[in-house]
């Protein structure tokens, strides 16, 4: 144990505020499908087992709580930062994950946009390194911010020598 009390600070930048909306939509769609399927089964199938009612109510309650709590919680956790020599991210909600990758080890920088993300003008950046466990993702950035970050990363990566393995 060291004498000094060091603490890992949070990365500097928040993700886009619209990410909350995206996470809410995703969770809502998922739970509507689950609860809907159970409700249909309960209505259509004759003599549906009694426990289906219990799981239906449970799924509905969990779904509402999850959809209400998870996106806001995530928004407080998800953060990112790029410095001259590192990419630093934090993600998750109940369980959290910090990731650190040196710029000198970056191999590619990609952006991806799913259908919901396109609707909300959001982008996800994936920074890959030589390791299969290496990809560092920054989810749901504002599309303009993402484009700028990709450009910056590409510029610094090119300026850094080495074969990144």
């Amino acid at each position: 144990m060291s004498e000094s009390e060091w603490r890992l600070r949070a990365p500097a930048n928040l993700v886009s505020k619209r990410a909350v909306l995206l996470w809410t939509l995703r969770a809502a769609i998922f739970w509507v499908v689950v609860v809907g399927a159970e409700a249909v089964a309960l209505l259509v199938v004759d003599g549906a087992p009694r426990w289906l009612r219990v799981t239906l109510v449970a799924a509905a309650v969990i779904g509402v709580v999850h959809t209400a709590v998870m996106p806001r919680w995530r928004y407080r956790v998800h953060r990112w930062e790029t410095t001259a020599d590192a990419v630093f991210t934090r993600s998750g909600w109940v369980s959290q994950e910090w990731r650190l990758a040196p710029i000198s080890r970056i191999q590619t920088v990609d952006t991806a946009r799913g259908p919901l993300q396109q609707l909300l003008k959001l982008s996800t950046i994936t920074v890959t390194t030589a390791s299969a466990q290496g990809p560092v993702t920054i989810e749901n950035l504002d599309a303009d911010v993402a484009a700028r970050v990709v450009e910056e990363l590409a510029a610094t990566t090119q300026a850094t020598p080495g074969d990144a393995t």
Binding site: W98, S131, A132, T165
Partner: protein
């Protein structure tokens, strides 16, 4: 090459075919099916031989293959990190060998980073191995045996029964035989000896049946593990070649030769499963880029004495002291509670469920009693897991140890670490610990330091790789 692939597949099919001939009731349908299967295999082998070509140029290794889907693979020669020569029985009958060339590329889809030339003559394979790994023109004697690091000692066979491989292979064989018997409508009850054994097992006193069955299974699995050790590790040799590679050669029927470029060696893992550890033995694998995990190609030392494992590790990594036997820093006592809870909770839950079933669903009593007896065992397991948790930094290596039933100690080169991952669950957060994973391009691509104390872990990450995590640390 034309016959090898079908031959290897036919060898795999021999037991069922033999069974068909000896036990099967010869109905025409079965015979026709087997004959057409054999025909198809040979035909496919012929086609794939006709369509496969390889070429080695100054800069590239190219492979064109595929019967239906044409595939062209090429890998740059300066990216070659490992060469693996594998000769199965079918290959060896014709003096051939399969050459697998590995690059440093991580495989997102299996086979992405490797090119396999199956099969070329053994002499050609040896020539390729030397040519592909030679980056600069060197004067190497064609038959250079290299400097010996380790070779098989007959006494190492005593470590074979300390692995569970024998037990597992018995299970596989029994499953296979059962499957085959039902496939061929073969009834065990029609054989007098087997019927007598079954009759004895079901009627005799359980107090006699259980020990006899246990002894029977143990003897069988000891024999199977000895046979497995012989098959895999016969004539094992570990050498350092003048072209800057370490080379492992082993095998009785299937022979393997794996060459690993030393510059790309990122460390080693010392495996000590519980039984092997109790017998003071260990197994060593390499952490390197360019080897995929299939078929244990990264093995450096088969089960052998721990002292030998330490010597080999130190020699291969070119260090004075083996990093895997360095004194480790303990993890905080909060981690002990976590280990015990994680070991005990599943057993308690199992016992509770079995008890409930015994009460409500007329299950017998012995399952939940057995599960209850296992609770103290799981406490011991949790304690041992905590005792084994540890980490340290040596001059060049990050060392981390964890596990009890399968304890492993990884030594990872500090300059091979290309990032960190810190994961923390709600429970870990309350216990003020986290899991620090060193990301690397080699081996299994990430090696975890489990449940390290908050301060301890940040200090470790900062010391192991200066100038990375330091800029994000603040003093409270």
């Amino acid at each position: 090459m034309i016959v090898v692939r079908p031959l290897n597949e036919l060898i795999g099919l021999l037991p069922p075919l033999a069974a068909l001939v000896f036990f099967g009731n010869f109905d025409t349908w079965r015979v026709v099916t087997s004959a057409s299967v054999v025909g198809l295999i040979i035909g496919y082998g012929l086609l794939s031989w006709l369509t496969t070509k390889y070429r080695i140029t100054e800069t590239q290794v190219e492979l064109h293959k595929g019967v239906v889907f044409r595939q062209r693979r090429s890998i740059p020669r300066d990216r070659i990190r490992t060469v693996d020569l594998t000769a199965k029985l079918g290959h060896r009958a014709f003096g051939l060998s399969a050459v697998r060339v590995g690059t440093g590329q991580q495989e997102r889809t299996p086979g992405e980073g490797t090119v396999t030339l199956d099969a070329v003559t053994a002499a050609e394979a040896e020539r390729l191995r030397q040519a592909l790994l030679r980056k600069v023109a060197q004067t190497e004697d064609e038959n250079d045996e290299g400097v010996s690091i380790a070779r098989l000692d007959k006494r190492w066979y005593r470590y074979a029964p300390l692995t569970v491989s024998g037990f597992i292979s018995i299970g596989i064989v029994v499953g296979f035989v059962m499957n085959l018997a039902s496939e061929l409508d073969f009834r065990f009850s029609e054989v007098g000896a087997i019927r007598e054994i079954f009759g004895w097992v079901s009627h005799a006193n359980p107090l006699r049946v259980v020990p006899v069955a246990a002894v029977f299974v143990i003897v069988l699995s000891v024999l199977a593990s000895l046979a497995g050790y012989l098959l895999q590790n016969h004539d094992y040799r570990l050498t350092r070649q003048p072209d800057g590679t370490v080379r492992v050669r082993r095998g009785l029927l299937t022979t393997r030769s794996v060459s690993i470029e030393e510059k790309r060696l990122r460390g080693a893992v010392l495996h000590e499963p519980l039984l092997l550890r109790a017998g003071k033995g260990a197994r060593v694998t390499a952490v390197t880029t360019g080897l995929n995990k299939v078929g244990g190609s990264s093995l450096l030392l088969p089960p052998a004495p721990r002292t030998e494992a330490d010597r080999v590790t130190a020699d291969v990594l070119a260090t004075n002291e083996p990093p895997t036997s360095a004194t480790l820093a303990q993890h905080p006592a909060r981690a002990k509670v976590r280990r015990i809870v994680r070991a005990v909770v599943p057993t308690v839950a199992l016992a509770a469920i079995l008890l409930a079933l015994a009460e409500t669903a007329n299950w017998p009593d012995w399952p939940w009693i057995t599960a209850t007896v296992l609770i103290p065992v799981s406490v011991a397991l949790g304690l041992d897991r905590y005792r084994n948790l540890g980490h340290t930094l040596t001059e060049d290596y990050l060392v981390a140890r964890s596990g009890s039933l399968d304890r492993s100690t990884v030594a990872l080169r500090r300059n091979g670490i290309i990032g960190w991952k810190i994961t923390r669950t709600l429970f870990q957060r309350r216990a003020r610990v986290f899991t620090l994973t060193a990301i690397t391009a080699a081996g299994s691509s990430g090696y975890a330091v489990l449940d390290v104390g908050d301060d301890q872990g940040l200090d470790l990450a900062d010391a192991a790789l200066p100038d990375l995590i330091g800029q994000f640390l603040v003093r409270d």
